[in-house]
């Protein structure tokens, strides 16, 4: 192995509806993350972002992991797993903690208590918290970034909580565990994609990331540098295919192929009246398809998806604060004219997102489908960095132990 020692590998695994994707990242001692391997496999056991056939899903995960191992030349022991589905939702919550010390100075423990209070959300019993992301602190109502060392009477903290149904989350974990892989951490796909795509500056200006997946459309809104809203809509590219199969009266496999070859997010005037003749395997004509119908069906569905997202973001009041723009990723970002369509719906610039904030394989970073898995690697790397920064003998020892475990 030529990678320098003490550089742990981090693997992001996304079990998507159309493909399973594993991305291997390498965190060098300087804290710079490098993508060294990518593996993917067609996914067959997932609908709307959730596993419906564990056996097939496990097989697909195995294939993707094997491919990534081969490419990065590592052995994967644990992954950071991305989850999504209609049950995942985001909400903002506030935790309050009175400062009790005699001199009213806020210490680290106070912030921890406030955060703990903020995680108490009134939810159905089986709902579990995926993330509780700190937005900002308030000391006696005044907004501060870091309250430690300040004095005040009441410490409050705003957090963004992403939660989901515990049983459904565990289904995904179980599929991975069955392959003798450890799950280090769970992360919401929409959050992961936004980590891969956005720079700190863009988060500061306000941005919306929409991951147009096959089974789900996940989105995350940033403003003032912190995450403000997340959501998952269980409608995606599969629905486009299904609509086409229904409208053009062709099988799903053929609809998928037509979508990729002739699809567009907006009705292109030049295709009016253009017909495609479908042939069977012997080359005999089977059916004639009107491209105009194909594109109309497709654009209506995509428009609806984006409108649902826009409406949800509008309700948070952030729709007009997306100065950095809207960033599209996932397989849906490949659809021709999707940016123009989104530009009509969102009052902001629309960009096709690229994983800019990471170095590594250019071929992987430019693909919009890999944004989630790359984001998962990045999400996990934050934890490594915080562990590493403790320093000292003990920290170093712990780091070394962890790496030994990580690399086997």
């Amino acid at each position: 192995m030529f990678s320098p020692s003490f550089s742990p590998i981090i693997v992001g695994l996304e079990i998507g509806t159309s493909k399973v994707c594993a991305v291997v990242g390498d965190l060098n001692p300087g804290g710079v993350l490098n993508i060294v391997g990518v593996g993917q496999a067609r996914s067959r056991g997932v609908r709307k972002g959730e596993i419906i056939d564990p056996e097939i899903a496990e097989e697909d995960v195995r294939n993707a992991i094997a491919e990534a191992e081969q490419m990065a030349d590592v052995e994967i022991r644990s992954v950071c797993l991305g989850v999504s589905g209609s049950h995942v939702r985001g909400l903002n919550n506030r935790g309050v903690h009175p400062v009790v010390s005699a001199d009213r100075e806020i210490v680290e423990e106070d912030t921890q208590d406030a955060l703990r209070n903020a995680k108490v959300v009134n939810m159905p019993a089986e709902t579990e918290i995926l993330h509780a992301i700190r937005q900002h602190f308030l000391v006696d109502g005044q907004s501060v970034t870091n309250p430690v060392g300040m004095s005040g009477g009441k410490l409050e903290v705003d957090v963004h909580v992403v939660c989901g149904n515990g049983h459904r989350l565990r289904n995904a974990i179980r599929a991975v565990r069955n392959l003798q892989l450890e799950v280090d951490e769970l992360a919401f796909n929409g959050l992961a994609s936004s980590l891969a795509l956005l720079t700190g500056e863009q988060k500061e200006m306000g941005a919306l990331v929409i991951d147009l997946g096959a089974g789900t459309t996940d989105y995350a809104v940033y403003s003032e540098g912190v995450i403000k809203h997340t959501g998952a809509l269980a409608v995606g590219g599969d629905h486009v295919t299904n609509d086409l199969a229904h409208g053009l009266k062709v099988p799903l496999s053929r609809a998928e192929q037509l979508k990729i070859e002739h699809g567009a997010a907006r009705l292109d005037e030049s295709v009016k009246g253009r017909l495609i003749t479908l042939t069977n395997e012997l080359g005999l004509p089977l059916k004639t398809i009107n491209v105009e119908h194909l594109q109309r069906i497709m654009s209506l569905r995509l428009q609806e998806i984006l409108e649902v997202v826009a409406e949800d973001v509008r309700q948070t009041g952030l729709l007009h604060y997306l100065s950095a723009g809207v960033f599209l990723c996932g397989g849906g970002a490949r659809i021709p004219a999707i940016a123009q369509l989104a530009g009509q719906i969102f009052p902001a610039d629309v960009h096709l997102g690229k994983a800019n904030s990471i170095s590594g394989l250019k071929s992987a970073l430019d693909q919009p489908e890999f944004a989630t898995a790359i984001g998962l690697v990045k999400f996990r790397s934050f934890k490594h960095k915080t562990h590493g920064s403790r320093g000292g003998f003990l920290g170093g020892l712990r780091g070394a132990l962890e790496q030994m475990r990580g690399r086997g």
Binding site: L233, H239, D243, H246, I297
Partner: protein, 432 residues
């Protein structure tokens, strides 16, 4: 031996004051069940002079010196009773008929009374109960037959099978009080409808729409009510409404094709509350045409009462031909607005000028009564078919659309729409 009392107009009270748009509504109870429901209604503020009861039993309230008629051998109305029914209904635009089916009086007389009331020019909405399962098959069969007879003649029909209310009859309920529960349920429903029709409203549902909603097969229509007071009354009222035994835990609403929601309250009723109620209900009846009616009733001060009338009948026509006396006629071209009036003496003035063509025979000589009947027949048959509005897009749902790949997965519902169905189908885009 039955002794059928004459039709009695009970009490003499001043006519209720209110907005000029409200309708003259009368409530007619037939038989024992009808009498006890009307008793409840009287106690809950329905004006006495708009109530009448025809019953073989003594009934629930103190009677004035009404005439007593010997009971007819068969369950038919004597001529004198017919006249009384017609007199009572003469100045009403809508009549709510309440009857318990299965017995002799209600089952036998209800269809005849409906016919008399219609003959007097009123729109008749029938509220009937069906016997409990344990009352025996004879009563059941008789009730079914009566239900069909009533359904055939009434403009609208709402039916409460007592068996559905049985779950509310507790273990400790004494036999004598068994019918308290269905009586209360029925009284709540009738009162809700009465408020829709007879109370001043900001959002008013047209009587024609109401009839279109309730005119259906014998047991396709259901009603439910829920009332609550206090700060959180809109949510509580909805909760009680959804717990109503006739709604079957909300399944009925989901299957309904047309729903009338009436929100009634005192002067303190706010738009926000109405909005909350509608929002909660609209999300529960995705396939239905929803109509809103708000009724203001000073007796409801501090209370919020939600009444839902739902029809599962597959097609909800909006007939343009249905008219009432003071409601504006739906313009439908040929006949003009004047034909809105049913009273015979106005008929000649409303007829369109006839072209002097030799091929058109002159109008036949007819008595006013015949003329009215002929007009009613025409209204009922030909015109309605001609005037059917073009089906709205949402009715496309009648066509079964396969969800393809998502057939077995959990549906993705967003604002009442199933997003798994192709967008172009839901939006009604036609691919030629």
């Amino acid at each position: 031996m039955n002794t059928i009392d004459s039709v009695q107009t009970i009490g003499e009270a001043a006519p209720p004051a209110g907005s000029p748009r409200k309708l003259a509504v009368k409530v007619f109870g037939v038989g024992g069940a009808g009498a006890s429901v009307l008793d409840v209604l009287r106690r809950r503020g329905v004006a006495a002079e708009s109530c009448a009861v025809l019953s073989a039993e003594t009934g629930g309230w103190a009677r004035s010196d009404g005439e007593r008629m010997p009971a007819p051998a068969a369950a038919v109305l004597a001529e004198e009773q017919r006249t009384k029914v017609r007199e009572f209904c003469a100045d009403a635009e809508a009549v709510c008929l309440v009857a318990g089916l299965g017995g002799r009086t209600g089952t036998g007389l209800a269809p005849a009374i409906v016919q008399e009331a219609k003959g007097a020019g009123a729109v008749v909405l029938a509220w009937v109960t069906l016997p409990l399962d344990c009352e025996g098959s004879l009563r059941q069969a008789r009730a079914r037959a009566g239900l069909e007879q009533v359904a055939a003649v009434a403009d609208g029909l709402l039916c409460l099978p007592n068996q559905k209310a049985f779950s509310l009859i507790g273990e400790q309920t004494r036999l004598a009080d068994t019918f308290e529960v269905p009586t209360q349920l029925l009284a709540d429903g009738v009162l809700g409808l009465w408020r829709v029709l007879a109370r001043p409203a900001r959002f008013r549902v047209h009587l024609a729409d109401l009839c279109a909603l309730l005119r259906a097969q014998a047991d396709a229509n259901v009603f439910a009510t829920g009332a609550a007071a206090g700060a959180n009354r809109s949510a509580e009222a909805i909760e009680r409404l959804l717990g109503h035994p006739l709604l079957g835990g909300g399944d009925i609403l989901r299957q309904s094709r047309a729903v009338l929601v009436s929100v009634a309250g005192g002067a303190d009723l706010t738009m926000a509350e109405v909005h909350r109620v509608m929002e909660a209900l609209q999300s529960r009846c995705e396939k239905a045409h929803v109509m809103l009616n708000t009724a203001l009733d000073e007796t409801l001060a501090g209370l919020l009462e939600v009444t839902v009338l739902a029809s599962a009948s597959p097609a909800f026509p909006v007939p343009a031909a249905m008219r009432t006396r003071n409601a504006p006629a739906v313009p439908d071209g040929a006949e003009g607005a004047g034909a809105a009036d049913w009273s015979p003496h106005l008929l000649p003035a409303t007829l369109p000028p006839r072209a002097a063509a030799r091929l058109v025979p002159p109008a036949p000589e007819m008595a006013p009564e015949e003329m009215r009947q002929l007009l009613a027949r025409q209204e009922a048959s030909g015109r309605r078919r001609r005037d059917l509005p073009r089906p709205r897009q949402s009715q496309l749902q009648l066509e079964i659309v396969s969800k393809g790949r998502f057939d077995k997965s959990e549906p993705t519902i967003h604002k009442g729409e199933d997003l798994d169905l192709p967008t172009y189908v839901r939006r009604g885009v036609v691919l030629n």
